[in-house]
């Protein structure tokens, strides 16, 4: 039988160390909604989402109460809209109507975000893909809860540089469209290399075409729990440190598995995956950067940071893998800047730069995340930063991503305030050397040699 120490250990994690289940994300296929008439398509989308997600929020709240574990977000992901809207949409404006429908569905279901305003263009863009991409700035400006993502490359297919260059423009435009809100639209827009089909985390969640009709994916969290656990082994060697992280990740993930199973059973929707990510929030004590400091670097970004992050990421995976029957999504440590108090502090103290962040993305999930850059950053420079990050993902056979906010009218040293989970960020300097001759070449970067395993 469970003993008193175990019970209080679990409750201490929840009450004092910010342990929570970060999200239950309900993936819904919209492939059966496809119609050549836009109004019919919108009605079918509404009907399918409303029907499938009707009990999501209430069920999440019930589970949360019964087990005494906070479930912070309930969310929805849908089939990439470029695939669903291809037959009906003749203009980017038509796609915006779909975004509005998704937003209405999210509000009705009571979820805080709906992901899947997306296109998968790692090799080429269909007309529909390109129209959806061109509609993103307006779609994100006119909606509140819609999140957008574009997959620009993969290890199997290489990098679609035409799409990378286009996304440089689109990210810039999105910032312009939402300049009255510090470029908030860009916080809901992410580009990927090797995007997973079953990611429960926003902004990049979409319901992949390989998925079934509906699926429950769960993202656990708990940077604070890991930090508290390793505080106990401050003077220990790497063996003890790694074992401690692994055991903690196991415990955290078991709760994710429990919540996922319960949500799946109560909603009558199959369980997809647990995502093992350590996802920070702006709250003090819920920081991945603080774990890196506890491991032994003075600030995130100091020499040793990449190695510390690599071991953290690997131990989280090793501990989590055995704790869940199916693991997927992004699964690792997230290193967003604006959403992590320790990362913000590291930038403010001059310890953390964009270049160091790029190095860190080689060993963790996911990428350059929630980074505010000067509004004067050119679209081709944004495309160059994206291309670099996509190359890391392509060559290392991992997911990488970019979520940059070129904040209009702001310069290095200024701040953006998004509030809530999205946090606040200091505007970081970007290299002023150009790359337009590279990004404007046109075409694709071929798939790397690693792709040919057949």
């Amino acid at each position: 039988m469970i003993n008193i120490h175990e019970v209080f250990e679990t409750n201490k994690m929840i009450e004092r160390e910010h342990f929570d289940v970060r999200t239950i994300t309900l993936g819904i296929s919209l492939l059966d909604c496809i119609d050549s008439n836009l109004e019919t398509l919108r009605a079918k989308i509404s009907d399918k989402i409303n029907r499938t997600a009707e009990n999501l929020v209430r069920t999440g709240e019930e589970i949360s109460e019964e087990f005494g574990i906070p479930i912070v977000n309930k969310r929805i992901s849908v089939t990439p809209a470029a695939l669903v809207g291809g037959a009906a949409c003749k203009t980017p404006g038509d796609f915006v109507r779909i975004a509005e429908t998704l937003d209405e569905c999210a509000i009705r279901a009571g979820v805080n975000f709906i992901g899947g305003y997306s296109a998968l263009v790692s090799k080429g863009m269909t007309q529909a893909d390109e129209m959806l991409i061109r509609s993103i700035p307006e779609a994100l400006a006119r909606t509140e809860r819609v999140c957008s993502s574009v997959n620009l490359g993969s290890t199997k297919q290489g990098i679609n540089m035409d799409a990378v260059r286009l996304m440089g423009d689109i990210i810039h435009e999105t910032a312009v469209y939402t300049k009255d809100r510090d470029g908030l639209g860009c916080a809901k827009l992410v580009v990927f290399c090797n995007a997973p089909d079953d990611n429960p985390f926003m902004a990049g969640a979409f319901h992949g075409v390989t998925e079934g009709d509906a699926v429950i994916n769960v993202g656990v969290s708990g940077p604070g729990v890991v930090k508290a656990a390793i505080e106990e082994c401050r003077d220990a060697g790497f063996e003890v440190l790694c074992e401690t992280i692994k055991k903690t990740a196991f415990k955290i993930t078991r709760v994710g598995q429990l919540v996922a199973g319960e949500a799946s059973r109560r909603l009558g929707i199959p369980f997809g995956i647990c995502d093992l990510s350590l996802a920070p929030t702006p709250a003090v004590g819920d920081s991945v950067a603080d774990i890196l400091k506890e491991i032994g670097v003075e600030q995130a970004g100091a020499p040793g940071t990449t190695a510390a992050l690599a071991l953290l990421n690997d131990q989280v995976k090793k501990g989590g893998l055995m704790a869940s029957s199916y693991v997927g999504g992004l699964s690792g440590a997230f290193i967003p800047v604006s959403e992590d108090q320790g990362m913000i502090e590291a930038v403010e103290k001059g310890a953390l730069t964009l270049s160091k962040l790029e190095a860190m993305t080689c060993v963790c999930s996911v990428g350059l995340d929630m980074i505010a850059v000067p509004g004067s950053t050119s679209p081709s420079t944004i495309a160059g930063i994206i291309a670099d990050e996509m190359a890391l993902g392509m060559i290392n056979q991992k997911t990488t991503a970019v979520r940059l906010i070129p904040v209009q009218g702001k310069k290095v040293g200024d701040y953006v305030e998004f509030g809530g989970l999205l946090g606040r960020a200091p505007v970081m300097p970007v290299s002023t050397f150009g790359c337009s001759r590279f990004t404007d070449r046109g075409g694709r970067i071929p798939a790397p040699v690693h792709a040919f395993k057949n």
Binding site: M1, I2, N3, I4, E6, V7, F8, E9, T10, N11, E62, E65, E66, F67, G68, I69, K251, R254, V255, Q257, L258
Partner: protein
């Protein structure tokens, strides 16, 4: 049988266990196990309870016990045992 774990944490005072047990008895909840410690004047108690025959819904018992806790200056949580089993048992 679905077991429920009730935890009580707070400053030690006369009658904490009595109040909680009285409530459980009144609502037909069977106590299977009790353990407690007092460290630095802080009272920590855990009860394993069978609530299958309880006359009230789980969420109502949670609310009632929260109120009982408030009236005697302690924090009471009522949780399904599975969360602890999942975390601490393979």
């Amino acid at each position: 049988m679905k077991k429920t774990i009730i935890t009580v944490v707070g400053k030690d005072t006369v009658g904490i266990i009595a109040r909680v047990c009285q409530y459980l008895a009144d609502n037909n909840c069977n106590i299977l196990d009790i353990s407690q410690t007092i460290t630095g004047g802080i009272f920590n108690m855990m009860m394993v309870v069978d609530m299958t025959e309880a006359g009230k819904r789980f969420s109502d018992i949670q609310k009632d016990l929260t109120a009982v806790g408030e009236s005697i200056g302690v924090v009471i949580h009522v949780q399904n045992e599975e969360i602890f089993d999942m975390m601490h048992r393979i």
